[in-house]
Symmetry: C2
Subunit: 196 residues, 2 copies
């Protein structure tokens, strides 16, 4: 290896992706330029290409990293023997926590996936559709077993996921509210709507 690694335990590629995630969130993927990014990394724009292949490769990495993380967790919850409401609570809590401490990444996967080039775009949307379908299957199963109020499962999924992804506008406006309070308030509201 050559020069100093800016951060311990991270390759330069990881540093680039980390800085990019911040930039993409602040300015949007389209408005963030490679020269912008290079400046934040502390290098010339052309040098970035020694570590990455393209601007959109960064976006792909971020989007699928997030997607995989959620998918992995969902599989664990699906195979666990908890009652439905506990499953949903676990999923909700994971989403909130991801939103709070991997804010940049999650935000981008939520809002900037549009700019993925094909075939990654279709792939991503398929994964997302699949994820939501499986979430709504959990809720539907809960209704059948009589553990959950009779509500349209798709609507419930929509409400839950959207509500959590809205935390971003929270983060900006109220840094005073601590994370646990927010999390428990949110869980309370969202789970209450599922209880019989």
């Amino acid at each position: 290896m050559a020069k100093i690694q800016s951060k311990r335990n991270s390759t330069k590629k990881e540093v680039i992706i980390e800085k990019a995630s911040r930039l993409f969130r602040e300015k949007g993927f389209g408005a963030a330029s490679m020269r912008d990014l290079a400046e934040h990394v502390g290098v010339e724009a052309a040098s970035l290409y020694n570590h990455i292949q393209s601007k959109s490769e960064i976006l792909q990495t971020i989007c699928f990293k997030v997607a995989n993380e959620f998918m992995t967790n969902l599989e664990q919850v699906e195979t666990s023997p908890q009652p439905t409401l506990k499953k949903m609570e676990a999923i909700i809590r994971l989403h909130i926590r991801m939103m709070l401490d991997q804010y940049e990444y999650v935000y981008i996967a939520d809002h900037e996936w549009r700019h993925l080039p094909e075939p990654y775009l279709s792939n991503f949307l398929n994964q997302r559709r699949n994820y939501r379908k499986r979430l709504s299957d959990i809720i539907e199963g809960g209704i059948v077993k009589g553990e959950v109020k009779a509500i349209d499962p798709y609507t419930a999924v929509l409400v839950i996921l959207s509500a959590i992804s809205g935390i971003d506008s929270w983060q900006r406006s109220r840094k005073t509210t601590n994370a646990e309070t927010l999390e428990s308030n949110m869980v309370k509201y969202l789970i209450e709507g599922l209880k019989k």
Copy 2:
């Protein structure tokens, strides 16, 4: 007046803004180009500037049009003598309906406001903060009067607004669900979380 107005009852400026709203939503403000827009309007890019002053003027028009519409409605609800839950239901229903039939505009005001130039950006954010504060005041008033469950009002506002703004991802994936069903399912879930 000169040439044909592409649509009855709308000036060319309105046509431009209408087409732009579609484009801005699909590609994002940054990625949508004036030449793109011109093509949709059926004119050369330079000709657009006979009707508008700049690209960001379009964004401003859209964002503040939406903001004003919500503000006007909020004022009506605030001064009406309904119980708190009815007030909230009215607001929720308006938001859902706006989302369903002014989708493009609302989406842009929700997602593309970042690209507003100052001082419009600050202005917009102030209005938004004000709107949310007043919403949470309504809920807080309901709690004091014992009409609403004791829940953190800000969290409730966040959940409600975010959930509704998530309808966009619905619109794309399930055109089969009719609007009234979606609206009533959503109201059910969101109001249930407020009931004692």
